[in-house]
């Protein structure tokens, strides 16, 4: 299997110098074919001098940490990424580091697909305070509620698991030619915490 770098390199080459989109990000062509500048997709056509230049990885990471109202974004792939910034032209390794930082796990979930994991399997390995989520199976009401409030409402990833899941093929078909899809193969820890809260809330009612 080619490495993540080689897969992204091939995807950039296939874009033939056109912008490539990933969630709310755009990877804009830069000086050379394999260099890309990152921006918010809504700033694709904005004059560079109107945007704040993020000079390094810590600055890029920081922009994803809070939304425009300075509220913390524990889900980094949530809608609401700040606008008004751009990176320098990034070489492939720097581009990959920046993308890992802005949209954690997005590249490997796309380029190095892991098989979807049913929620009950994810729940089975939980321990401590999260063991409780083992009680809601693959279709339980707490899971449905958490998925509705978190995955559907607050995350741009598209689920390959759980209620209302789509297949990888369906997600790829629905992704425009100029975009990289954002598949989600397994429940993240944030969602697991939300499921636990739903179970807790139901018990208190």
């Amino acid at each position: 299997m080619p490495s993540l770098s080689r897969i992204l390199e091939a995807r950039l080459a296939a874009a033939s110098g056109r912008p490539l989109f990933l969630g709310e990000l755009v990877l804009l062509p830069a000086r050379s074919e394999l260099e890309r500048e990152l921006r918010h997709r809504a700033d694709t056509g904005t004059a560079p001098e109107s945007l704040v230049l993020l000079p390094d990885l810590p600055a890029i990471r920081e922009i994803a940490k809070n939304d425009a109202a300075w509220a913390y974004r524990p889900l980094r792939v949530a809608p609401g990424l700040q606008r008004g910034w751009r990176t320098e032209a990034l070489s492939l390794p720097a581009l990959i580091e920046a993308l890992h930082s802005l949209y954690p796990s997005a590249l490997p979930f796309w380029a190095v697909p892991r098989p979807p994991v049913p929620f009950s399997e994810t729940a089975k390995r939980q321990s401590g305070m999260y063991r409780l989520v083992q009680t809601c199976g693959d279709e339980g009401a707490p899971l449905r509620a958490a998925v509705e409030k978190t995955c559907a409402a607050r995350c741009l990833r598209q689920r390959l698991w759980g209620p209302g899941a789509r297949t990888r093929e369906e997600i790829e078909r629905a992704t425009p030619d100029d975009a990289i899809p954002l598949p989600c193969p397994e429940a993240c820890n944030y969602l697991i915490a939300q499921v636990r809260e739903e179970i807790d809330a139901a018990r208190k009612q």
């Binding site: 913390y72 390995r125 321990s127 397994e186």
Partner: protein
């Protein structure tokens, strides 16, 4: 001793130039500052060019422990928990989420080297002492006479993980036994178990008290809970720490959480070197 000085950095860089480092921290879904130290340490190691790749992962933030190895391209991967002690996360959660079978796991052409948590490295004692000295220096006060000064090392303390209290006690004992003496007394105190930090006035008798929270990041405990228990009156989040404090006729200095010290990056690197010397040496005698 600085952590980075205990081995040859050039040789280290040459040895690890194709390897990856993964710094594994706790993170938070509500506190944006919780993961900051882990990121800063990773950035510092990145700047030094010691590894081909440096990654961060978290229990409560993305990227999650579970998925981090998917984004690592190197064949040999060192995982260092950015945790202050061993316990539930380092012994159960991280190995489970990363499918580790022990200190050394070989899988799918990869070698996964699971190092000790940062807080367990002997070099942490040096960082703690330098932290304590710097907080006094930064307040504009000349170095304190050891015979009139106590060091108070504050841990969380909980019945759930004895290791987290053990490591604080060990640090206090190690510093207390140093010759020449750096402090007249080096004492461990805890928020939620005896000896309680709120009792510091009776735990130590010296006129000068330097306090270092043995925590991996700043947050509710180091910004709010411990200052209140010590009798500090400023709002640390808003005003910063206003050292020295005059409390009950004594002077008290308070440091930021130990885990925020930039030298922790060197300790992370030192844990990799420690792994090479001990675990890898055992695997390839």
């Amino acid at each position: 001793m600085t952590p980075g000085s205990c081995f040859d950095l050039h040789a280290f860089r040459a040895r690890h130039r194709h390897d990856a480092l993964v710094v594994a921290g706790h993170g938070s879904t509500v506190n944006a500052d919780s993961s900051t130290p882990a990121y800063r340490h990773a950035d510092r190691i990145r700047e030094q060019g010691l590894f081909a790749e440096v990654h961060e992962c978290f229990w409560k933030e993305e990227p999650n422990f579970r998925f981090i190895l998917d984004q690592v391209e190197a064949e040999r991967i060192y995982i260092v928990p950015d945790f202050i002690s061993s316990g539930y996360f380092t012994e159960e959660v991280i190995p489970r989420e990363l499918n580790l079978t022990g200190p050394l796991t070989r899988r799918d052409g990869k070698t996964l080297c699971y190092c000790q948590p940062v807080g367990l490295h002997p070099a942490i004692t040096g960082v703690l002492l330098e932290r304590a000295a710097e907080v006094v220096h930064a307040s504009g006060v000349p170095p304190l006479p050891p015979e009139e000064t106590a060091l108070l090392i504050v841990g969380h303390g909980t019945g759930l993980n004895e290791n987290s209290t053990k490591i604080v006690r060990e640090q206090a004992a190690r510093i207390g036994a140093m010759e020449p003496r750096r402090y007249a007394a080096a004492v461990a105190a805890f928020m939620e178990q005896e000896p309680f930090v709120k009792d510091w006035r009776t735990l130590v008798s010296q006129p000068n008290v330097v306090t270092v929270p043995f925590f991996i990041s700043d947050g509710l405990h180091s910004y709010e809970d411990i200052p209140v228990l010590l009798g500090m009156t400023e709002d640390v989040r808003r005003d910063g720490i206003l050292n020295p404090h005059a409390i009950g006729g004594r002077r008290l200095w308070y440091a930021p959480a130990l885990g925020t010290d930039p030298r922790l990056a060197d300790v992370i690197v030192a844990q990799v070197a420690h792994f090479d010397t001990h675990a890898l040496a055992l695997a390839h005698p």
